[in-house]
Symmetry: C2
Subunit: 370 residues, 2 copies
């Protein structure tokens, strides 16, 4: 079996590293002409998308150059839907194109959540900020419908002056959301098979800084399972509504024991990287199992697990590893604010885990200074 | 960091798949001119050994073509010691050459065990079988000193006629061992770091057929830890005696709560494949951590784990996988009696594990018949 993945980043890398042991071969579509392919080099064929891909003969050639994959999946939501539709003439696209389309545009995502009566923050679509002020209160946050990730293309509006400034920018295609004063952020990563089976990983506590995920700990603190039960209900409603196949992630704000859904990702997710160390089957293998039509692997947790993202570090911090931690380094070109790798931590309880993660952070800081 | 491995088989494949996430790059020396390199294709540079490697300039070229690795390790004991010594002029060889040399020759291995007063079966070295009969009783087993693995180049002598037949074969360089009537076979896989730290994986129960490992279950049945304590003592004596760095495996016969050491392997081992599913850090990552000079990862078990070798199967048995099993397929050319992959099983207790493994064996048989 051969699977092609759209995208050549670290998620494609880890999908391939999890799928190669199953005897599955991989190809990667480089749909970003400037993107380096270091993450996936050596793990399968890398085929750059040519600018004239729209012609029928060229799509046919692309499919052939990919090695005639049995199916195509994605490592990101920002994929040209027209490209996926053209490729669908040759093989399955999983998760299905409608699901990817819904998650790649914040307004369509909001519509999906509202249709399913799943709590999400109040919003206005493509209104000037001063109009949005009639339905929302300050502070508000503006998010580009398409190009926002890791906190990019977002604007926080705190004052009337901010509103005037933003409206002058003349940004297109955005939503303006009420600013949610959340207590903490959690996420749920789940997987649905072709036959409709759903498995959930443990609810995960996440800490972001400037919109970038810094660290996760799983299982999340969740008295009486209140949040977990709600998260499962919402996730199952979404997965079944769009007949989803593969791994999906749901990011949520926690406010007074309620979940407010912030974002969906139709793919493996940074807040599920801990599953490589802390679950029977990691999210990457389970995404491959799902789209390949196999029975899902167990998502059961094996202990308490944490993950720290390595952002803009110069070297894999091998000497800072401990007996209960391991590293995933993505082979990327080093750039400030870029996710270059992550470290997973495993422990018997949350207290020792947090101590371990703190020790690692200190060791990293010392290394960077010396 | 770049590590070169001598050999292009499944052990090199799994070492690379475990080391790539750490940001380590790999090269492979193909020292067997007929060997296909499918197992490691795409995971790093593959450099075939040329027949004139002995010349100093050619060794220099080989080292350069490997990408000037920081160190060289092995996936097998049958490596030309002269080649390793020549390469040592350029970088470290780990485990050290003396340890590999001792384990690659059954008589030297026996000498090492006897020097350390570790129990092993009585034997005669390079005597005709009819002479060996003066010190050993029938049945006896003859093992080539160098070329025996998976039951190859071994002869069981049960009668005086067998003895005459064997002596007429005129075989060179062998040992004749007393046939051990063992109750069961266990193995211990351990790892020693550059700083001398030693970690042991759980003792493993193994079942062989015609000299080939069929399946493993870990932890092994071991009342009061009697066998485990002995195995640790023997292993630590061996590792420290030869200043070993990396993973070593020790195969043992169990007779009346005693261990009789059958064989040492200076490398990752088939009976440790279960560690991919059932331990915090698998044997492959720990070998890489040891030779790379890193702190060892935890060898703690996460539950009960089993492994079934896939021998001479035509296809990866993806459709036979269950929620608690996963597959490692090696991408080899299919041949009868060849190890083509293995399946790891994880479970909460030994009873459910054995049931799961039986179900898998049945599913495989049905698939092969239909």
């Amino acid at each position: 079996m051969r699977i092609a993945i759209v995208g050549c980043g670290q998620l494609s890398r880890m999908l391939a590293l999890a799928g190669l042991p199953l005897g599955i071969k991989f190809s990667f579509i480089n749909d970003n002409y400037q993107q380096a392919t270091d993450c996936v080099d050596g793990l399968g064929r890398v085929v750059p998308l040519t600018k004239d891909w729209q012609e029928e003969q060229n799509i046919h050639n692309l499919y052939n150059r990919l090695g005639k994959p049995d199916l195509i999946t994605v490592e990101k939501e920002q994929v040209d839907i027209k490209l996926l539709k053209a490729l669908q003439a040759h093989c399955d696209i999983l998760p299905n194109i409608e699901a990817i389309a819904a998650c790649q545009h914040r307004y369509r995502e909001k519509q999906l959540l509202e249709k399913l009566a799943i709590p999400t923050s109040p919003f206005a679509y493509s209104l000037p900020a001063n109009e949005a002020l009639k339905v929302l209160q300050l502070p508000m946050v503006v998010k580009s419908c398409r190009d926002g990730y890791d906190g990019k293309n977002q604007w926080v509006l705190k004052t009337l002056a901010d509103i005037e400034d933003f409206d002058r920018l003349n940004i297109q295609d955005y939503i303006i959301e009420a600013w949610i004063k959340f207590e903490r952020e959690v996420s749920l990563v789940s997987v649905r098979s072709k036959s409709g089976d759903i498995e959930h990983y443990a609810l995960t506590d996440n800490i972001h800084e400037n919109g970038i995920l810094l660290q996760s700990i799983a299982p999340a603190i969740d008295q009486n399972n209140t949040l977990t039960i709600k998260a499962h209900t919402y996730m199952e409603a979404i997965l079944n509504a769009v007949d989803y196949v593969g791994v999906m992630a749901m990011e949520c704000f926690v406010v007074n024991d309620e979940l407010i859904i912030n974002e969906l990702a139709p793919r493996v997710h940074n807040s599920g990287h801990w599953t490589q160390a802390g679950s029977v089957t990691c999210q990457f293998e389970n995404h491959i199992r799902a789209v390949a039509g196999l029975v899902l692997g167990s998502t059961a947790s094996l202990g308490t697990t944490g993950m720290i993202n390595l952002i803009g570090n110069e070297q894999p911090p091998l000497s800072s590893l401990s007996v209960l931690s391991t590293l995933h380094w993505y082979n990327k070109l080093v750039k400030a604010q870029r996710k270059l790798g992550h470290v997973n931590f495993f422990d018997k309880d949350q207290v020792s885990l947090v101590q371990q993660m703190d020790d690692f952070q200190c060791a990293i800081k010392l290394n960077n200074i010396s």
